[in-house]
């Protein structure tokens, strides 16, 4: 009985899959000031040209540079596991497979895009990257990647996470990056937020504003985003491409594909190759499920509309599912899922019915993580635990119906820096936050329309 399905190193993908080639045209990103579609020139102050090209590329496949592949090979191809012990524990006829991205140096899927982003910026002569990080996964991934290419790195880390996960900061330091609790007083955006609310827990939206401002005001500095954008989703497709190969090695194809969703990149990574198959009609029946926290349910309760990607309104307007760029999600432990919006591609695919989304409360998510740790051994990140929860629920559903579905989920990262969150769970201190959608709808209806 095979437990680990390993792809030989030489079979690591040589090309990323660009799902845009298989989708109807997307609504363009709009310039925040003019409201007109953004041009490459608009983006060039903060992004290198190659990433701007990838953002709107029409080719179905895009070559992964050899220098990037060499670094990815440090941990890729990542293993695919059959969760036999979990299946047995759940007494389910379903087959549960999970892709384990916790093997990367930073401990999550994030380096998959950090490495190419650092690479393209280095090629463009950039000396420093500024970025934001929620739970610290992205910040440490970019810290790791930048130092490989000799770039400096400044990370604006959401304040609540900075306090929650001090070791993430230490990790970034080891890799030579500077990590600051956001909001800071270094940027206008940060100062503004602090003025309004000195005790703010911060949010991804605020931290993005700070990093964008930093990049836009320093010519040697570019901005780097760990999720949401098309090129980030593109880089993550190595996950799904590998998984599809690995499943084929055991003659399987998933009936269900699951990933947790914050900005959407790890979900995109695991699901886009399968979503592509679904769109093209070769595998039309795949159920593709994004999993959100009930505290921040953009896909399940948000509006599909143009909104800013950040709090200060510095980013282009993106057509996406959003809870409003000024929404500051409560301080849940899955800090990486605290984002008001979502990847425009994921949003569009959900809107078009190619994918769907579900949401869960914190406590049930940690219960699932505990079940997983006690059967499969791995202690997963609170973010990834959302995917675990959905996979378990799906498998239990199979127990009821007797269906032997093949379930694939992305286990996006380990929880080694999240022990305090597990502690809080065991102390009964986890709050089941909820998004009061109906009241918010009423409150928005009564707000003055601006602009």
């Amino acid at each position: 009985m095979q437990t680990k399905i390993l792809l030989p190193e030489e079979q690591m993908p040589k090309r990323w899959y660009n799902i845009l080639a298989d989708m109807p045209p997307m609504d363009p990103a709009l310039h925040p000031k003019t409201g007109k579609p953004v041009t490459p020139e608009d983006l060039s102050p903060i992004f290198p040209m190659e990433l701007i090209r990838q953002e709107v590329a029409a080719d179905r496949f895009i070559d992964i540079p050899e220098e990037v592949r060499e670094i990815l090979a440090l941990w890729r191809p990542s293993p695919l596991f059959r969760a036999r012990r979990l299946e047995k524990h759940l007494k389910t006829p379903a087959k549960i497979f999970y892709k384990w991205e916790g093997v990367s140096p930073a401990g999550s899927h994030k380096p998959n895009t950090a490495v190419p982003q650092a690479y393209y910026n280095m090629k463009a002569g950039i000396e420093r990257l500024a970025t934001e990080t929620g739970a610290g996964q992205w910040g440490s991934a970019l810290a790791f990647a930048t130092q490989l290419f000799g770039l400096e790195c400044t990370v604006y880390m959401v304040r609540s996470s900075y306090a929650q996960k001090p070791y993430r900061k230490s990790m970034m330091q080891v890799w030579g990056a500077e990590c600051l609790p956001s909001p800071t007083d270094r940027t206008n955006s940060g100062r503004q937020v602090l003025q309004g609310d000195p005790e703010t827990p911060g949010s991804l939206g605020i931290a993005i504003s700070e990093a964008v401002e930093d990049a836009a005001t320093h010519s040697n500095t570019n901005y780097s985003l760990g999720s949401v954008l098309n090129h980030v989703c593109l880089h993550q497709t190595v996950i799904g491409l590998e998984a599809r190969e690995q499943l084929a090695m055991v003659e399987e194809y998933p009936d269900v594909v699951i990933g947790c969703v914050g900005g959407g990149s790890n979900f995109a990574g695991i699901s886009f190759p399968f979503a592509g198959d679904k769109i093209k009609g070769t595998k039309p029946g795949t159920d593709i499920v994004g999993v959100e926290p009930s505290a921040c349910p953009s896909l399940t309760k948000g509006l599909f509309a143009y909104d800013y990607g950040d709090v200060a309104g510095l980013t282009p307007l993106l057509k996406m599912f959003t809870l409003g760029h000024d929404f500051v999600p409560p301080a849940i432990h899955a800090g990486g899922l605290r984002y008001h919006g979502d990847s425009p591609i994921v949003s569009r695919l959900v809107h078009d019915g190619v994918m769907r989304a579900v949401s869960y409360y914190q406590n049930e998510v940690f219960e699932a993580a505990q079940t997983f740790a006690r059967t499969e051994g791995l202690i997963v990140a609170p973010e990834s635990a959302h995917a675990v929860k959905a996979a378990i629920d799906m498998a239990l559903e199979c127990r009821k119906t007797g269906e032997a579905k093949t379930i694939l989920f992305n286990n996006s990262g380990h929880g080694d820096f999240d022990m305090s969150s597990y502690d809080a769970f065991y102390q009964g201190k986890l709050v089941d936050y909820e998004y009061p959608a109906e009241l918010i709808r009423q409150s928005l209806a009564r707000l003055p329309k601006v602009g």
Binding site: R159, S160, A163, Q164, E199, P201, S294, A295, F327, V328, P330, A331, H333, Y361, S420, S421, D423, A424, Q427, G428, K429, V431, D432, Y433, E434, Y435, P436, L439, I440, Q442, S443, R446, L447
Partner: protein, 377 residues
């Protein structure tokens, strides 16, 4: 023993020796009924409950001011504590007046906290004496404990005393229960006032990790700002008692009674401290209406305790879908489950298994609702 230094927590400690006696013998409360309870064979249980707490509070970190005999000294000695001073002596059978007098004595000695063992009646007496001047905490020993100042059990009370800081406080409801009516099978509760209880600092590490809104005032303003944005013209708002609803009224620029139910429409207070009849009358002329209430801390009653003017008829007229429950995160952290007791089990069931409680600006928490069986008989 001499008065302790400032590093030591000074605790005023008293027991209502007869608290809890009425329950087992069917008196549903012992206010003015201690003699009858004894005749029925009741045994005081407050001593034993208090000793369970005190046994966990031995050591040099605490100094007690207490009362003579069964009102405190005996239990301290039984728990093996000798660093105390008797500050109040009573004669004959202890009474509510003794409780109040002892508390005033503790206050003048500079107690940091008053720890009492008793029931709702004792809580009310302690509160009447000291108000918000010093935090209080109850070791539950009474027949019924609807007030929010009680720890869940004697051991938890010791935990709170041990880990509580001396600067963080929460407001906690003191309820008035009409015991005569209660003995007739009619539970009449009314919000009597707000005491202060020690806020439990989370385990030190945790408090640094999560920026839960521990600042109650700030949280209440966030809630008020959010709810204020949803206020619509022409709709009647029935505001329940409490500091959270009062903060909302204040945010809206309205004067609200702290302990009563007030009616608000189109930016004006229509009726203050409304009775059920008044609410029903105004409801008849209103096209839309909403109830905004806050649960009682610790006990978790959303409806049916302390706000009975919002009766089952009122709730039916407004509709359970038009009830907004609000509470600060600090209060919710100390309130594990919610209860609804409208007096109509069918209506109670309409609230479902969970309630959404608004706890900040555009933030809510899902709290479990536990059905209570009709325990009045």
């Amino acid at each position: 023993m001499d008065d302790p230094g400032p590093a030591v927590k000074r605790i005023g400690f008293l027991i209502n020796p007869v608290a809890g006696m009425g329950g087992p013998v069917g008196l549903k409360g012992t206010d003015g009924k201690a003699g009858e309870a004894e005749l029925r064979g009741a045994v005081p249980r407050s001593q034993e409950r208090a000793v369970r707490t005190l046994a966990l509070l031995r050591g040099p970190g605490f100094f007690f001011f207490t009362c003579s005999g069964e009102m405190g000294e005996l239990a301290l000695r039984r728990a093996g504590i000798d660093h105390y001073q008797v500050k109040y002596r009573y004669q004959g059978r202890s009474s509510a007046a003794d409780t109040r007098a002892a508390c005033l004595e503790f206050l003048s000695c500079g107690a940091d906290l008053i720890l009492f063992c008793g029931g709702d009646g004792t809580a009310r007496d302690v509160f009447d004496a000291v108000g918000q001047r010093v935090p209080i905490l109850g070791i539950p020993a009474g027949v019924k404990m609807f007030s929010a100042v009680f720890a869940v059990n004697p051991e938890a009370a010791a935990d709170i005393v041990r880990s509580a800081g001396i600067s963080d406080f929460l407001d906690a409801e003191i309820l008035d229960i009409d015991e005569d009516a209660y003995r007739q099978g009619d539970l009449q509760t009314r919000l009597h006032g707000y005491a202060r209880i020690p806020a439990l600092p989370e385990l030190t590490q945790y408090s640094k990790q999560v920026f839960e809104d521990r600042d109650e005032e700030r949280a209440r303003v966030g809630i008020a700002r959010f709810i204020a944005e949803t206020i619509a013209p022409g709709v009647l708002y029935i505001l329940g008692p409490g500091t959270t609803t009062a903060a909302l009224a204040k945010y809206l620029g309205l004067e609200k009674t702290l302990l009563g139910v007030d009616l608000v429409k189109d930016g004006k207070v229509v009726v203050t401290d409304a009775s059920e009849a008044q609410i029903m009358e105004i409801l008849r002329d209103s096209s839309g209406s909403r109830i905004i209430v806050s649960p009682i801390g610790a006990q978790g009653f959303v409806l049916g305790r302390g706000n009975q003017q919002i009766s089952k008829d009122v709730i039916r007229t407004v509709g359970t879908g038009n009830i907004i429950v609000i509470a600060s995160p600090g209060k919710l952290a100390g309130t594990p489950v919610l209860h609804v007791d409208t007096g109509d089990p069918k209506l109670d069931a309409e609230f479902g298994e969970h309630l959404t409680v608004v706890s900040g600006y555009r933030i809510a928490q899902r709290k479990r609702v536990l059905r209570i069986s009709d325990d009045r008989d």
